[in-house]
């Protein structure tokens, strides 16, 4: 086994550890406190927001506007419609070079 292959395998193991770790830890606990439960219910909103936030501030107005368009539309319309509208606005605004 070369060094590269070994390194890749260790990185894969580290990644798998993160992807199973949360579940394994939680299933050992049994009944969780209501605050922990609330925190877990907030994982999708909290982590995905943290993931997306820099796209609002680091790119141009076009990207920030597209995020707003998609977010607002998705409150009412389907995900595919909202994402398509966001893409259309980002392309359009980039062409207009805003």
């Amino acid at each position: 086994m070369t060094d590269t292959v070994l390194l890749v395998c260790l990185c894969a193991a580290a990644t798998y550890l993160t992807r199973t770790g949360g579940h394994l830890l939680l299933s050992r606990v049994g009944k969780v406190h209501h605050r922990a439960e609330a925190a877990l219910n907030a994982v999708p909103v909290a982590v995905l927001t943290a993931l997306v936030a820099p796209s609002i501030a680091t790119d141009s107005i076009a990207e920030a506007a597209a995020i707003a368009v998609t977010g607002l539309l998705a409150l009412r319309f389907s995900l595919v419609t909202s994402v398509a509208a966001g893409m259309a606005s980002v392309v359009l605004l980039r062409i207009l070079a805003i």
Binding site: C9, G22, V45, T49, A53
Partner: protein
């Protein structure tokens, strides 16, 4: 708070057939596949340029299957950094998955032990987001999860190979807005969770903390720090009667 902020009313378990699960899974994943193709083709091209052999590229993408951390690995590998610090960096970039698996693991009652082990291996960002949405209604079942996952995994590996072979021919994905599908997809999914307790507070605190961390400590810490700040907010706002619903 009224009753419809209660978790009970957010989780609607409706029986689905395996056929509808597979159809829904392959339909929901389509926007992601469009985004995955250019991203993974670029990764394939960059990996070959950075000196990985084709076999090593395949091993990397098939076994790690987490694109952000694969870029970090490539980058540090090129700098001749000691192996332990590369592995630590990969772990740091992937730390958000600890939270993903803790959260989505609660909705996997329909999965066997082996199915869970495989499912967690495939738990990339869009997979988590779509599965949380599916778990809220009509319920997360293995057929949905694995049909969604198989489409991404196969597309990811195939486009990696295309990128590795034809790296120099890849067009600039920003021309069609394809580079921005993922942030938009996540934004749409976030909005879909707007009925969860404390939604607005969690959104604001996570976004603010993420930006703060992004401009001070730097990437990738903004994901973990922003996420944890949002979780702390939800925990602080929680009241006992809202939480006694999970079995």
């Amino acid at each position: 708070m009224s009753d419809d902020c209660n978790q009970d009313s957010l989780v609607q378990k409706i029986p689905t057939t395996m056929r509808t699960d597979i159809l829904d899974g392959t339909r929901d994943v389509v926007p992601i596949l469009i985004a995955v193709v250019p991203f993974s083709a670029v990764f394939g091209a960059v990996a070959i340029e950075s000196g990985l052999s084709f076999a090593e590229l395949l091993l990397t993408s098939m076994s790690i299957y987490a694109v952000a951390s694969q870029y970090v690995m490539l980058d540090l590998f090129g700098q001749g950094v000691p192996a332990w610090s590369i592995i630590l960096a990969v772990f740091a970039v992937n730390f958000r998955h600890v939270l993903y698996s803790a959260s989505i693991g609660r909705h996997m009652q329909a999965f066997s032990g082996l199915q869970k082990a495989a499912a967690f291996f495939l738990l990339v960002d869009p997979q988590f987001a779509a599965s949380e949405r599916r778990a809220a209604s009509p319920g997360l079942r293995p057929a949905y999860y694995f049909s969604y996952a198989a489409c991404i995994y196969i597309t990811w590996i195939a486009s990696n190979c295309v990128g590795a072979a034809f790296g120099s021919l890849i067009n600039d994905p920003s021309a069609y807005g394809i580079d921005f599908i993922l942030p938009l997809y996540f934004t749409g999914l976030i909005a879909g969770f707007h009925r969860r307790p404390g939604f607005v507070a969690v959104l604001i605190v996570s976004a603010f903390t993420s930006l703060l961390a992004y401009f001070t400590v730097g990437s990738p810490w903004h994901i973990t720090l922003g996420g944890l700040a949002g979780l702390a907010t939800a925990a602080a706002l929680s009241r006992p009667q809202e939480a006694m619903t999970h079995d």
